[in-house]
Amino acid sequence: MSDENEPVHLNMTPMIDVVFQLIVFFIVSMKFKSLDMKIEAELPKECGMVPGPARPPDPKVDVRLRRAGRDSPTEIRVGSLSLGNAADESAWIRLKTCLDVAKARAADSSVRLIGEVDAAPAVATADVVHALDVLHAAEFSDVRFTGTPLLR
């Protein structure tokens, strides 16, 4: 009869075990996503008509990326000069060389050289970012994008 009057004690140990297992599970499964790297760029500003004397256009290097179809590789050009396919790493090395030469010439004449990227709509984003990367490697601080506006 004396057992009935004693208070009942809950055994909390299994519950705490389970809770700690849950914590460990969440800590282990949690993956904080973080960005690795970034490339800075600037979009052209629409300033409208500016009165005043005409200014000669800034010297620039045209990097053109073209792709005939979804299955064909991207072709890299500087102006009208074809440097090869984007799948071929040597084409990117040739692009870097062209940019270095243009940069060295511009340094001689102390003008600020602009890098202009003109990519066709079908080109993969990876190739355009690769071109930006090469322009940054060649220390082009002013990189712009050109192209025909797309219809929505």
Binding site: L35, D36, E40, A120, T125
Partner: protein
């Protein structure tokens, strides 16, 4: 034991919420590789993260854009950008905003998808001209453990 269990449950809730938040802004994508990109440091309200997944139909469909975990079409994206840009526009409507757009585009996304987003950024009402392209280091250049 009660305080200990309270603390434990608080921990569980924290990890559940933190895990969910970390997934909202950043979508799992195959980012383009870049050797000379700079390391990204997270910034506050003056940056919008635009995730651009590879469009369906092998790149011929509409771009799949998501901001803060919400999928948006281009009209919705323009409205979202305008709201965020207006909050950090120092000189009133129509002038350039201080907002920076971080474009996280899948490496296989066609450039036309990025162009659509860039057009939305540069539209007169939005006037966001600072862009950042998210990238990763190529595997060969990645330090051990990253």
């Amino acid at each position: 034991m009660t305080p200990m269990i309270d603390v434990t449950f608080q921990l569980i809730v924290f990890f559940l919420v933190a895990n969910d938040l970390s997934r909202k802004e950043i979508v799992d994508l195959d980012l383009p590789h870049a050797l000379h990109a700079t390391e990204d440091t997270p910034s506050g309200a003056d940056r919008v993260i635009i995730n651009l997944r590879r469009s369906r139909l092998g790149g011929t469909g509409a771009p799949i854009v998501s901001v803060r975990g919400r999928d948006l079409d281009l009209a919705q994206l323009t409205r979202e950008l305008q709201t965020r840009a207006d909050a950090v526009r120092p000189k009133g409507p129509g002038t350039p905003s201080e907002l920076t757009a971080l474009l996280r585009a899948d490496e296989n996304a066609p450039w036309s998808d990025v162009q659509h987003v860039m057009q939305a950024c540069a539209s007169p009402r939005v006037a966001v001209y600072r862009l950042q392209f998210a990238a990763t280091l190529p595997d060969a250049a990645r330090p051990a453990g990253r």
